[in-house]
């Protein structure tokens, strides 16, 4: 069985973004980027399925500028068999990304398609659901456990008050949540070897997909800062204050 894993070269999750004073937009030019953590979890899951004998080939696909190759090399080092970059310098919104991925899915015909539940950064959390809907496939969002069976996959999902287990007919789309697994530590030799591997590159503009933006982020603002805590020395003083301000009744 072939598995496709979508990989986003995203803002590093430890970075606190700044707003560019002139444009009023988040300044992404010099920001450290890395593989989106939820996509790394997806890759790890694909590798584990391969180790258990369910999967023959893992194809990692990134959509973005040439620098996204860094995340594809990370995917190689984790255990991807093939890497594909759909190259564009234009920032893309979720619907355009889903449409590009649909073209790749139709070309590659995987049985399972993994995406992270969201990309850190814009936090839209849409692309997997959009892709599944465009392909007419079932989707297992917020997945925390998977089991492959004959012709279908059993997915445990994190829901508002616990978990839910569903079965999806294959091919299907899975979006990974944090607790699906813990990605393995990448060894340096693997990373060195990954540098030598080929990355097939397609131009996004050649794939016949409508990439135009559907909405505009007109400005980005920082939420109003909180003033910082008034410190108390004892529990009794704290409780007295809370009673006075009527938050404790």
């Amino acid at each position: 069985m072939k598995v496709l894993v979508a990989v986003k070269h995203a803002i590093d999750y430890n970075v606190k973004p700044d707003i560019h004073t002139e444009t009023g937009q988040v300044d992404l030019a010099q920001v450290k980027k890395a593989i989106n953590p939820f996509d790394e979890i997806s890759l790890e899951e694909a590798v584990r399925l391969k180790e258990r004998g369910h999967v023959g080939e893992i194809v990692a696909v990134a959509i973005g500028s040439a620098e996204a190759k860094d995340s594809l090399r990370h995917a190689y080092a984790l255990g991807a068999d093939r890497a594909l970059l759909v190259e564009t310098d234009q920032p893309l919104q979720p619907l355009a990304v889903a449409k590009l991925l649909k073209v790749i899915v139709e070309r590659e015909q995987p049985q399972l398609i993994f995406l992270g539940k969201q990309a850190v950064g814009e936090d839209y959390g849409q692309t997997g659901q959009m892709l599944a809907a465009l392909l007419g496939m079932g989707v297992g969002t917020f997945s925390s456990a998977l089991q492959i069976a004959e012709g279908h996959i059993v997915v445990t999902r994190e829901i508002d008050k616990g978990t839910e287990t569903i079965a999806l007919q294959l091919p299907a789309v899975i979006t990974s949540d944090l607790r699906l697994n813990e990605p393995r530590f990448i060894k340096l030799p693997n990373l060195m070897m990954a540098k030598k591997k080929a990355i097939e590159t397609l131009a996004a503009n050649d794939l016949g997909v409508d990439l135009r933006p559907r909405f505009t982020v007109t400005r980005a603002v920082e939420p109003a800062p909180r003033p910082g805590a008034v410190q108390f020395a004892t529990v009794n003083e704290l409780v007295k204050q809370l009673r006075q301000t009527e938050v404790l009744v």
Partner: protein
């Protein structure tokens, strides 16, 4: 010109987040229809028909909707989508799983996790783990929107809407519900509780024994950090933060919580934040309104006694 709100039924009744979504839907000043789908819906339909501002309740009943699946509800919504200018739902787990797919099938954008509607196609939504508020102009003819419940008050109940039955397409059967494993807690729900008391990993095995008595006294929901959940001291659904539940209670008490960015993203809209931590340099104190530098193993019993 009208708005469609996708409701969610929890057992027999409507989820509180449906009331908040209906408040958000009133922004456009258009007629509001509420779609209620599932099986055995009598109580939920009666409830929905009394929510203020609702014109019609669309009743979609079918055996295969007893445990709604994204694909089946998406097919149902597509049968009526062309009648609406706005399709809106709460940004619950089901809402966020469902809505983007509907948008894609309509070849339009979806705007998720909206915390404010500033004009008919202008929204504010958090990004970068809540560090940035993005103002968005949506250029699409149809507005597909999910709203963060804690940002909208619940709609009232003095309406009298008509209930209209609609036909449900058969299940596509690409997905099948197997089971659910729900936590049965006597405590209020995390995302709608007036008071939340949350603990970090340092509570360890004493997580329940330290927090339960206080939660009882304050009628509070209990929350936990991701690290605490990962260490197995608290159940997964108690996780508060960017990747867990985002809350905005009147009072939030953080016990032994350092204030990691992903946790702060989940609590920063709380009205009053109280932090108890032994480390005076813990980042949580920058976000808290009131702080107490103390060892939590002695401070919590003291707090419990002080609340008698």
């Amino acid at each position: 010109m009208s708005v469609l709100v996708l409701a969610e039924v929890d057992g027999k009744t409507l989820k509180p987040s449906t009331y908040q979504a209906i408040t958000a839907a009133t922004y456009w000043g258009l007629a509001i229809d509420v779609l209620v789908y599932g099986k055995d819906l009598d109580a939920a339909l009666a409830e929905a028909s009394t929510i203020s501002g609702v014109r019609q309740v669309l009743h979609a009943q079918a055996d295969h909707l007893q445990h709604p699946l994204v694909e089946d509800v998406s097919d149902l919504v597509m049968t009526i989508a062309s009648d609406y200018n706005v399709i809106l739902t709460a940004h619950s787990v089901f809402g966020k799983s469902l809505l983007p797919g509907i948008a894609a099938r309509l070849d339009t954008a979806s705007i998720t996790d909206v915390i404010a509607i500033e004009a008919p196609s202008h929204y504010v939504r958090p990004s970068y783990a809540g560090n940035i508020l993005a103002h968005i102009d949506n250029h699409e003819d149809v507005q597909i929107v999910s709203v963060r419940s804690t940002a909208f008050r619940a709609a009232e109940r003095n309406g009298n809407a008509q209930i209209v039955e609609i036909s449900v397409p058969p299940s596509r059967a690409v997905s099948r519900w197997i089971s659910e494993q729900l936590s049965h807690s006597e405590r209020p729900e995390l995302n709608s509780a007036r008071v939340v008391i949350a603990g970090g990993r340092s509570l360890g095995e004493q997580f329940d024994s330290l927090l339960n008595p206080l939660a009882e006294k304050l009628d509070a929901a209990i929350g936990a950090t991701r690290a605490c959940v990962d260490a197995g001291f608290a159940a997964n659904e108690l996780q508060v933060g960017q990747t867990g539940t985002i809350i905005a209670p009147e009072l939030y008490i953080a016990v032994g919580i350092s204030g990691a960015m992903q946790h702060i993203a989940g609590i920063k809209d709380s009205k009053v934040i109280v932090a108890i931590n032994h480390d005076p340099d813990a980042p949580i104190f920058k976000y808290a309104d009131y702080g107490l530098v103390a060892d939590l193993f002695s401070a919590l019993p003291e707090l419990n006694a002080a609340l008698q």
